[in-house]
Amino acid sequence: MDLTFTPEEQAFRAEVQRFLANEVPARLTAKVRGGQRLTKADLEEWHALLNARGWLANHWPKEYGGPGWNAVQKFIFEHDCALAYAPRTVPFGLNMLGPVLIKYGNEAQKRYWLPRILDGADWWCQGYSEPGAGSDLASVKTTAVRQGEHYVVNGQKTWTTLGQHANMMFALVRTDREAKAQEGISFLLIDMDSPGVEVRPIITLDGEHEVNEVFLTDVKVPVENLVGGENKGWTCAKYLLTYERTNIAGVGFSVAAMERLKAVASRVRKNGRPLAQDPLFAARMAKVEIDLENMKTTNLRVIAAVAGGGVPGAESSMLKIRGTEIRQELNSLIRRAMGPYALPFIDEALDEGYDGERVGPAEASFAALQYFNNRKLSIFGGSNEIQKNIISKMILGL
């Protein structure tokens, strides 16, 4: 057993760090560090940079344009990106649709859509959730009726993250109304510019527009946009959901947040001393730091098991639960560290180029906001309650 990186892994890491240090525009990392909003153009710029380097679709096989990294390399990359305050990538095309197309798409679909994910020609969004369905994904109500060479789609999707930027959506639709639950579902690629598609913003509790409702009224979708065969969509859906994500624990984000927290707590003062020396706050920090140190190794153990041929099952649910709890706790502590300065909410300060007077510590502009926004971590992507159901099902067999 050896927790240190091999010389090859170290060399790889050095290469990643060089790239991050030299090639990511300071403008972008400054925005991430400052908790500012990333625009569509920012995200496209970052995708293009990674694509130029061949690192964008790092989960894809080499033949489709992936870099051919192993699990440890992917972990290193995502970890160091977070530490360098690089932007996140948008996962809908890269991590969700891509693997489904690679596994279930036909040749024409692969040849057409995969390169467009890489070069940014398409911005994908997700059409999984429906109002009132929540974690019960199989209760799809949106229908698709075949009429000649088209499906005619009617229904409503929700929680469509960044759908306002998307020109394409992959969606679960019901093609057989007689079939039960998971049968009768198909996986369709829908052009968002088609007549009958309407995107309405959902404003979240922090006042931000990140998610959307999408209304689909008599939307015509060519039959060649069906992936995996009619009524076989649930197979694609499940594959997408259980698709191995090295980053489900978000360890990189947590490591970055931990560094941030330590820096804040050394800067902010209480009773004339750094907050980091306040016994109660120090204990909170140490507890989450230890939990994170443990999680780093738990995460790597799961990655190692997968690389060795194992399949992450209940383990990835554990990573999801504890990983999001740690991120949320770190957000909480950064918020707490602000003291009364958690209150101010200066909307303009979240946009690039803001040059108004700052209020409070540097993190004050986003600390409470990120805390509230990241309550979503334990809800979206399969709520932590659903993950506990999975764990007990797989372990208790009940």
Binding site: K270, D278, A368
Partner: protein, 393 residues
């Protein structure tokens, strides 16, 4: 022992609760929050007419309440509707002013009538809730005082007509002694105010004092002895925030129970899932503990200092911990919908979490409770040994 409120107090509570629930919808609240001042002067005047402001002051001060349970019932009712009007700054500044004697009676009367808005500008960038930490200075120049410094996150600092400002006339930055309180009209030269919204829908401001020159008559109470007045006023504010939180918790609880009963998933109401039931049971239980903490604090408001301040810190600690729990659990139990602006729930959640950032958070008050306890024990040990009775081992 008696757990019933007096008839008057119960009537006031019922009246205010009904008023808030009928007249202060979440849509109205959003509109008021977005308005220029962040609260409604008209609404404020109505509260004054209902006698709600007067309930925070005793008869001698021109009100008809002023006890711990008066503050508690009023703020609990306000919390149920997330009322934005300046009850807290009025209570903070008004409590201190009302202790200042005859000279300030007129100002207090104006507050009670809803004709004047006052606030307390006390916290500073580096104080992180420590009450005795005051770097803002007030130096004597002839008959005048000249104040310099910065005050942080002052509630309605830009809207208030009167600011009650703490400044140091002597002592080191952390001394309880040497703090003086000054009443400053908003228009005084040298006062610079930076107004901003707060994440829970309110308004606050950074207040900069640049050589603000004040006549000696601006001094409230004896020079250098402002701390006791400050502590008492802040104590009332702490009680008010705690009660407000219990009101907000009750609303969040009702909304969450309603959601658990009506929302269906996997073919059943989600409230039928035992894991969620048990978590909701925990939430209910904690809210009852929070309610008791407020009762304890209200009951101790007239007790001797250490008993009073310990009960207040115990309550604020409890409210900080439980308020955050209630906020997080009620969002989580709602799932995605609990994250949306459209729903009233998350606005209650935001307020609950932000209450922990006002007048001292969970950690601050836990540490303070411990320190006050140690002081209390030291004092009683001295007393006991003087009496010749030892504590049994």
């Amino acid at each position: 022992m008696n757990f019933d409120h007096t008839e008057d107090r119960r009537m006031l509570a019922d009246l205010l609760q009904r008023y808030v629930s009928e007249q202060y919808s979440i849509e109205k609240r959003h509109a008021i929050a977005k308005s220029a001042g962040g609260f409604s002067r008209e609404q404020w005047k109505q509260f004054a007419e209902l006698g709600v402001i007067g309930a925070l002051f005793d008869a001698e001060q021109g009100g008809f309440g002023g006890g711990g349970f008066d503050i508690a019932v009023v703020f609990e009712a306000l919390g149920r509707g997330l009322v934005l009007e300046p009850f807290l700054p009025t209570l903070l500044a008004g409590s201190a002013l009302a202790q200042g004697g005859e000279r300030w009676a007129e100002a207090v009367a104006a507050l009670i009538a809803g004709d004047c808005i006052a606030t307390l500008a006390h916290e500073e960038a580096d104080s992180h809730y420590a009450l005795q930490r005051v770097a803002t200075s007030a130096r004597r120049e002839g008959a005048d005082y000249v104040l310099s410094g910065r005050k942080a996150v002052v509630p309605l600092g830009a809207q208030a007509e009167l600011l009650l400002v703490s400044a140091r006339t002597s002592g080191a930055v952390d001394d309880a002694e040497g703090i003086s309180l000054f009443v400053i009209p908003a228009a005084t030269p040298g006062l610079r105010v930076r107004d901003y919204p707060t994440i829970d829908g309110g308004r606050a401001a950074e207040v900069v004092l640049e050589e603000v020159r004040l006549p000696a008559s601006a001094l409230l109470g004896p020079e250098g002895e402002g701390f006791a007045l400050l502590e008492q006023a802040v104590g009332r504010g702490v009680l008010a925030l705690c009660a407000e939180a219990v009101g907000a918790m009750d609303t969040a609880k009702a909304m969450t129970i309603d959601y658990l009963q009506t929302r269906r998933q996997f073919g059943k109401p989600i409230g039928s899932f035992q894991a969620l039931q048990h978590r909701m049971a925990d939430v209910l239980l904690e809210i009852e503990q929070a309610r008791s903490a407020v009762i304890n604090a209200a009951a101790a408001l007239d007790a001797e200092r250490i008993v009073r301040e310990r009960a207040l810190s115990a309550a604020k600690y409890s409210i900080g911990r439980i308020g955050t729990l209630v906020a997080e659990e009620s969002i989580q139990l709602h799932g995605g919908i609990g994250m949306t602006w459209e729903l009233p729930l998350p606005h209650f959640a935001k307020r609950l979490v932000m209450i922990d950032h006002q007048l001292g958070d969970e950690d601050h008050h836990l540490a303070r409770f411990i320190a006050l306890g140690a002081a209390q024990e030291a004092a009683s040990a001295v007393l006991q040994s003087a009496r010749g009775t030892g504590v049994p081992a």
